[in-house]
Amino acid sequence: MKYIDEYYDKKVCRTLTEKIERKSKGREIVLMEVCGTHTMSIFRNGIKDLLPENIRVISGPGCPVCVTPNSSIDQAIALSRLDGVCITTFGDMMKVPGSSTSLIKERGRQADVRIVYSPTDAVKIAEQNPDKMVIFLGIGFETTAPIVAASLIDAFNKGLENYFILPSNKLIPPAIKSLLESGETKIDGFLLPGHVSVIIGIKPYQFISEDYNVSGAIAGFEPVDIMYAIHRLVEMIVSDSPAIENCYKRTVKSEGNRIAKKLMEEVFEICSSEWRGLGIMPESGLGIKDKYKRFDAIKNIQVDVEETKEHTGCLCGDVLRGVITPLDCLLFGSVCKPENPVGPCMVSTEGTCAAYYRYADYRR
């Protein structure tokens, strides 16, 4: 397919491998990707095997489903049990275990839970089912947030009174800042998420190089895109000239997408948010502005939520901070498997544990 196939060129990848090896001169370099789609592409395309031993790529908190804390999942599950409620969600959320159950199990117990491709589909369901309260689970980063915002604006303009969202959208730059601030994991460079960057542009990442002397490269998702971004990161790291570079120029503009940002500003305001593994971080989430507050499921639908419990032995939080790999978790591959996942990183198709399990990367 055009603008995809070209970026799978083996010869280019091989040359980039050689260049990375030559330039890094055996220096130990740790790069972190902060995007579930990058995680999957890196594993699926065998990128780790293309890199020399001294270059390590670890996963960070880039999978929206994985960073959603149990408390939010419990809230969605509690809502799904109410009469007259229809939960609409991206498919990834279905199997994520909350404290005691999951949405897919609740659907088996007659809850009305539907997978949608877009929140605008959820708006259509609300229009077609005026007797139901239709709630969309607003999970996702800056790529998804403007689309959720657009659905609320549509619902507002149509005068819908039965469409709601459970606001859980989160912001990537504060998560990166938190990782750098804690210093818990040594990170020499970030592979920055291409499609989050389509919306926000380059500026929100500048603090990474300016305040922390760490480099970042905005990367696309095909193997050549990723190898090229790693190559540029290695060059910046070895020459000790930290910067943020856009290596995905065919899609990412420096200023981002102005209209998308306006949609977000119209509907959302920045608020603190709880992240699995990172805790409650100030200014890392999106809440709903007053004008649209009647669409906020939390504020408008009364529900008792069970007491949140964490899964014993689950180390998803540490995996999300890049402190450990899934191989360091005792549950990985034994009791925690894709068919019976304990933690979200094994559930989501973009989760680090799922990627390790599926692609059997048992290299430490």
Binding site: M1, K2, D9, T37, I139, T251, N257, I259
Partner: protein, 71 residues
């Protein structure tokens, strides 16, 4: 979840469009883009075009990568 794919815009009516990828057509919301026309390549996420693909940049990048591969 931030998966987004390039597709060709084949029809446009106001902010609604039809995009084609690999022979499959599907509806796409175009409200986030300015100056978009049939024949353009767009990046689609969750039913919305979130950016127009810059074909000149794409060609330049490919050219640069091919140069790299020569060494």
């Amino acid at each position: 979840m931030c998966l987004a794919i390039p597709a060709k815009l084949v029809e446009k009516k106001g902010i609604q469009g039809l995009a084609e990828i690999g022979g499959v057509k599907r509806e796409v919301d175009l409200r986030m883009l300015e100056d978009i026309k049939v024949g353009d390549y767009i990046i689609i996420h969750a039913g919305f075009a979130i950016q127009k693909l810059d074909t000149e940049e794409a060609e330049e990048t490919l050219e640069m990568l091919r140069e790299i591969a020569k060494y």
